[in-house]
């Protein structure tokens, strides 16, 4: 068949397809009116266009016609194979099941990440106990001084006591700062793990140094009451981001039987539940830190009790939820 006869024969179908694409681009598929002139059988029309494209190639019709049909088929393909996810039920299912399940499924990485974070923290704590001046190897004296004044019990005005409008300011700051660190810890996995390890170890050392320094200085009633509650989701989330980063890095270093980028791609989508979950935990932590940790009116024992409950809840959630459903 000559090209122009082919065009004449199928012109109507192509125009119908164009009308479909136009309609699907502007409206959702379930909102399309049944009575519209474009017909009902989009999949059939799409397959027909694919068939025409194959014919046009085999019969060596002109490049322009092939391009036109290729574009039509591509646009159709976009709508035919678009993933439509029920966002809200998927989100609920994610937090009730998928995230804690992913935490346990990747327990090797999660455990390694815990060690890489908490061992340096512990080491630094011991070092600062034995040799208090060692804190200046990490923090400059100005920072140490401001930390001390912030948590000095003699102030009788808790380090971060403030008006409610500054609560909101600190919430913004914690979201911006902490979640950025979390994302960077994950992304750093792509540098063969160096980035993730750096963020985990550095933050571990920093946390160990500051906590020990203030404890040794006798500021326990202010410092620990401040950090204990939000520390549960916050530190755990950083460790989870670290685990996600380590997953990336291991596949970048040792892709196994897959091609390297293929292995990294699979690892990235495997690690994604940890990233989403970690983000939610850091949001929660920022909220607690800004609006609960900063309060000074609750007695010390209330703060410790609430803090302990948060730790139990965090690990209880991650270790126990979503056990029944098959993944």
């Amino acid at each position: 068949m000559k090209q122009e006869a082919f065009e004449k024969q199928n012109q109507a179908a192509w125009e119908q397809m164009e009308a479909w694409i136009e309609a699907l681009n502007t409206r959702r598929v379930d909102k399309l009116d049944d009575g519209e002139s474009i017909g009902r059988d989009f999949p059939g029309l799409y397959r027909k266009v694919c068939h025409h494209l194959a014919l046009a190639r085999a019969r060596r019709y002109s490049a322009g016609l092939q391009q036109r049909l290729n574009q039509l088929a591509l646009d159709g393909h976009q709508h035919m194979y678009r993933a439509r996810l029920p966002f809200f039920s998927a989100t609920a299912r994610f937090f009730a099941n998928d995230f804690p399940a992913a935490f346990r499924r990747h327990w090797r990485y999660v455990l390694a990440s815990h060690l890489v974070f908490y061992l340096p923290a512990l080491g630094m704590a011991l070092a600062v106990i034995l040799q208090p001046a060692l804190i200046y190897s990490l923090l400059d004296p100005g920072t140490v001084f401001s930390m001390e004044t912030m948590y000095d019990p003699d102030n009788d005005r808790l380090g971060r006591e403030r008006q409610s409008d500054t609560d909101l300011m600190m919430f913004g700051y914690y979201v911006y700062n902490n979640i950025s660190i979390g994302f960077q810890t994950f992304a750093g996995g792509l540098l063969f793990g160096l980035g993730s390890l750096f963020f985990l170890i550095f933050n571990g050392l920093y946390f160990g140094a500051v906590a020990t320094h203030l404890t040794v200085a006798g500021y326990t009633s202010t410092f620990w009451t401040f950090v204990i509650a939000h520390g549960a989701p916050e530190l755990t989330a950083i460790v989870i981001f670290g685990a996600a980063g380590l997953m990336l890095s291991l596949k970048a270093i040792a892709p196994g039987r897959k091609r390297r980028w293929h292995a990294v791609r699979d690892a990235a989508s495997d690690a994604l539940p940890l990233v989403y979950g970690g983000t939610a935990m850091l949001l929660l932590a920022a909220f607690i830190e800004a609006f609960w940790s900063s309060t000074s009116w609750p007695p010390t024992w209330v703060k410790y009790t609430v803090g302990t409950v948060f730790w139990v809840l965090t690990y209880g959630y991650l270790l126990l939820l979503g056990r029944n459903e098959p993944r």
Partner: protein
């Protein structure tokens, strides 16, 4: 296919799967319908310009936002930081997921993000590629991303490679159909299917080229068809395409 065989075929002018890959910047996807679709992949220039437009939009929003929020004092600073976080990490993801793979900058350049299998990018692909942007911009000025886009076959930065996404042109430039444009004139020389296809494609593209180029391309056929001017060649094209039959 071995390198020797491939170069042999290339010198003979026989297209192979490999040579097509080398010579064209399309990404081919196989569909369940058994036909191969060709996606035109966007290169460094289009992507950089799209990034620049997005960066300017973010800058303008950030500066307006910070001025507006300043009224609220400490709370305003908090809102400002939330805005900064959104622009830094969520801007691209939200636009790509909800606006069919295109941020405003990409939209302006006519490019968008799709998965390697040609389907629209979703939450996972967009999240991975945009979180790993942090690695692409190392060590500042997007050096790693630049290298990756320049060296990878489908102009992917590292985030794209890990997410399995590519940036493609939204619509190809399609020449209008030209049924019955010129009075058909038969060709007496036997031509292969590929050669006939080239002549029809020539007639299609002619309106978008200047006259000198049109004439120059027509003159290439002198050894085959003898002296032909561009109008004659277009009439031959009409004959091949079957005008008036």
């Amino acid at each position: 296919m071995s390198l020797v065989l491939r170069s042999r075929l290339l010198t003979l002018g026989i297209p192979t799967a490999q040579s097509r890959l080398l010579l064209d910047t399309t990404h081919d996807i196989a569909t369940p319908e058994g036909v191969e679709l060709k996606l035109p992949v966007a290169g460094l220039a289009a992507r950089s310009l799209a990034w620049l437009i997005d960066a300017m939009i973010k800058l303008i929003v950030a500066s307006f936002g910070s001025t507006a929020f300043l009224v609220f004092g400490g709370a305003g600073v908090g809102l400002m930081l939330l805005l900064a976080f959104t622009l830094l990490w969520l801007y691209n993801v939200l636009f790509e997921v909800f606006l069919n793979g295109a941020t405003p900058g990409k939209k302006a350049l006519g490019v968008r993000v799709v998965n390697l299998n040609g389907t629209p990018v979703g939450w996972s692909g967009s999240t991975i590629r945009n979180l790993l942007r942090f690695i692409d911009l190392l060590p500042g000025t997007y050096l790693l991303g630049l290298l990756s886009v320049s060296l990878s076959a489908r102009f992917q930065r590292l985030g794209d490679l890990a997410a399995g996404t590519i940036v493609v042109y939204d619509t190809a430039v399609v020449p209008p159909m030209r049924a019955g444009a010129d009075k058909p004139l038969p060709i007496t020389v036997p031509l292969s299917a590929v050669e006939q296809q080239a002549i029809v494609s020539y007639a299609e593209r002619a309106p978008r080229m200047n006259d000198e180029r049109v004439a120059e391309l027509a003159s290439l056929l002198e050894p085959v068809l003898g002296q032909v001017d561009s109008d004659t060649l277009k009439r031959h094209a009409s004959w091949i395409a079957g005008s008036g039959q």
